[in-house]
Amino acid sequence: MNASQVLFLVFAALTLGSALMVVTTKKMIHAAFWLIATLFGVAALYALLNAGFIAMVQLVVYVGAIAILFIFAVMLTRKDLRDSAKSLNANWGWAALFSALMFGGFAILLRQWDGFGMKEAGALPATDMITKLGTALVTPTQYLLPFEVASVLLLAALIGAVYVAATNK
């Protein structure tokens, strides 16, 4: 087992463990903080895959914006921040069963895919990756159209948010 495999196991365990805590912890706000740990774990996995750009974007967008939005939502909507409602309802057994079945099904399907046992490709030079990503987003034959459509969608969402929030319409 080499160093990157050890790191992978550590971060995978962190991601899964904190994801489990998100759904089992009793305090809402703790769930939000455990979610941040999960997102960190995912970012670390991206970094292990040599996708530094995606890892950083994961941190900036998910930890820096979305997780903080979650925490604010929890803080501002709950009357008593220390409330400890039960996090599981009567159907948790069924949910666990179906989750296990789904996991088993995916595991069987993925075993047949030959990419599953493939060896890790040699590390790509990191500088090339980000340049390639950048040029791919502005090349008409590649991802220019999806990129622009996503930008227009975000702009529409922005204007919509301003319209909804504006008091004197």
Partner: protein, 397 residues
């Protein structure tokens, strides 16, 4: 390769050799040397931090026409050690109803968000932790951990002032991230890379990036001060309104971590201003003597911009929260985006020509002039409206 020409790699090879001499295999030795390196870098930052306390207290004293600490050691330089002893022997209080784990984790996260930045600071050509190709994004990502620590502290303290302080801080940090990222993007455009070493290498000795884009420097400085939560943006700990803000319930060394984190954060941002706009470790070819000279130049520049941040802090009074938000969203953010577009356009048009630098500089000046003219006309309009309403009230009375 000697210590003088390449200190980090020389020490790395030497230490790795020592560990392998003890019978370790190469991988384990390399991992261990990395850990030792991280430990040394963090220790250096923390020891520097101790002296930053002294610098801060001495400088604020001068700004306020006082002498500052001057009893312990020459010029009072050992005052921080007395401060540390005081902080350590203070009672460690956890408020009733506090969320103990998050309460204790928050100061650590606060310090961590600063120390993470030291990984990407290039002290000299071959002296840096890592040369990330996404270093500028990393800077923003580390900042979001700082925001997180403030929320943690504010929420877990079980104190309404702490919660208010953390709400204010988060609103401020998230807002001012936008112009800061735009200013960083301007630099990225001019350097053609997001890596810190690449940005420093892209700056010529006589024309660092502040000549290319003085407006980006100004925007970055303002938003950096807001990110740091220092005056005039210290609403998060406004003493006259919310006592001490998010760290109100912290005592002893836990408070010390927040305080030390803030000082080191300011110094680190001084370093980022130096490397983004003032050529980092480059100083008219002097850095070619040795990386050690380069590191001294870099730290001196970082210290200077730390001083600039202090200068602003102790000169300008705190601004109101609605002004803070309006200034960001209605003025700084649009200006930063216009600057980004203008820079991109001029950069593209003049790419490779000798007129690139003058073109960018002049376009910046024009943009500044237009902004000032616009602000002037807006101010006149607002004043005329106010005067008209005052006169109509007076006429009725």
């Amino acid at each position: 390769m000697t210590f003088w020409t390449d200190p980090f790699n020389f020490l790395f090879a030497w230490l790795s050799g020592v560990f392998q001499g003890w019978g370790m295999n190469e991988v384990l030795a390399t991992v261990l040397v990395w850990f030792v390196g991280i430990l040394l870098l963090v220790t250096f930052a923390m020891v520097l931090d101790i002296f930053l306390v002294w610098v801060e207290r001495k400088v604020v004293a001068r700004f306020q026409d006082r002498l500052g600490p001057n009893r312990i050691g020459p010029f009072g330089i050992f005052q921080p050690f007395a401060d540390i002893v005081k902080l350590l022997i203070k009672e460690d209080i956890t408020p009733i109803g506090a969320d103990v784990i998050l309460f204790n984790l928050a100061p650590i996260f606060s310090m961590m968000s600063v120390l993470l930045l030291w990984a990407i600071l290039p002290f000299a050509p071959k002296m840096y932790g890592v040369d990330l190709n996404v270093a500028m994004l990393y800077l923003v990502a580390a900042g979001s951990i700082g925001t997180l620590s403030v929320i943690m502290a504010g929420w877990s303290s079980n104190n309404k002032y702490a919660l208010m302080g953390s709400f204010r801080t988060v609103a401020q940090m998230i807002s001012y991230e936008v112009p800061m990222v735009a200013a960083i993007l301007v630099v990225t455009l001019m350097a053609g890379t997001m890596g810190t070493v690449g940005i420093v290498e892209a700056q010529q000795p006589f024309v660092p990036f502040w000549v290319y884009s003085p407006l980006a420097l100004l925007i970055f400085l303002i938003s950096a001060i807001a990110e740091l939560g220092r005056s005039p943006f210290d609403l998060n700990e406004a003493e006259s309104e919310i006592v001490a803000g998010f760290h109100i319930e912290y005592t002893g060394m836990k408070f010390g971590l927040f305080y030390a984190g803030e000082l080191l954060h300011s110094f680190t941002f001084g370093g980022f201003i130096a490397l983004l706009f003032f050529g980092g470790y480059r100083f008219f070819g002097l850095e070619n003597l040795s990386p050690i000279v380069g590191a001294i130049i870099f730290l001196a520049k970082a210290m200077f911009f730390y001083w600039v941040i202090m200068w602003v802090k102790y000169t300008v009074p705190r601004i109101r929260i609605d002004h803070m938000l309006a200034f960001n969203w209605k003025f700084l953010t649009p200006l930063a985006f216009i600057l980004l577009m203008v820079t991109a356009l001029v950069n593209r048009l003049l790419l490779g020509s000798a007129w690139l630098v003058p073109g960018l500089f002049v376009s910046n000046l024009i943009l500044i002039w237009l902004t000032i003219e616009y602000l002037k006309s807006q101010a006149r309009k607002t004043r005329a409206q106010e005067e008209a309403s005052v006169q109509s009230v007076a006429a009725e009375a």
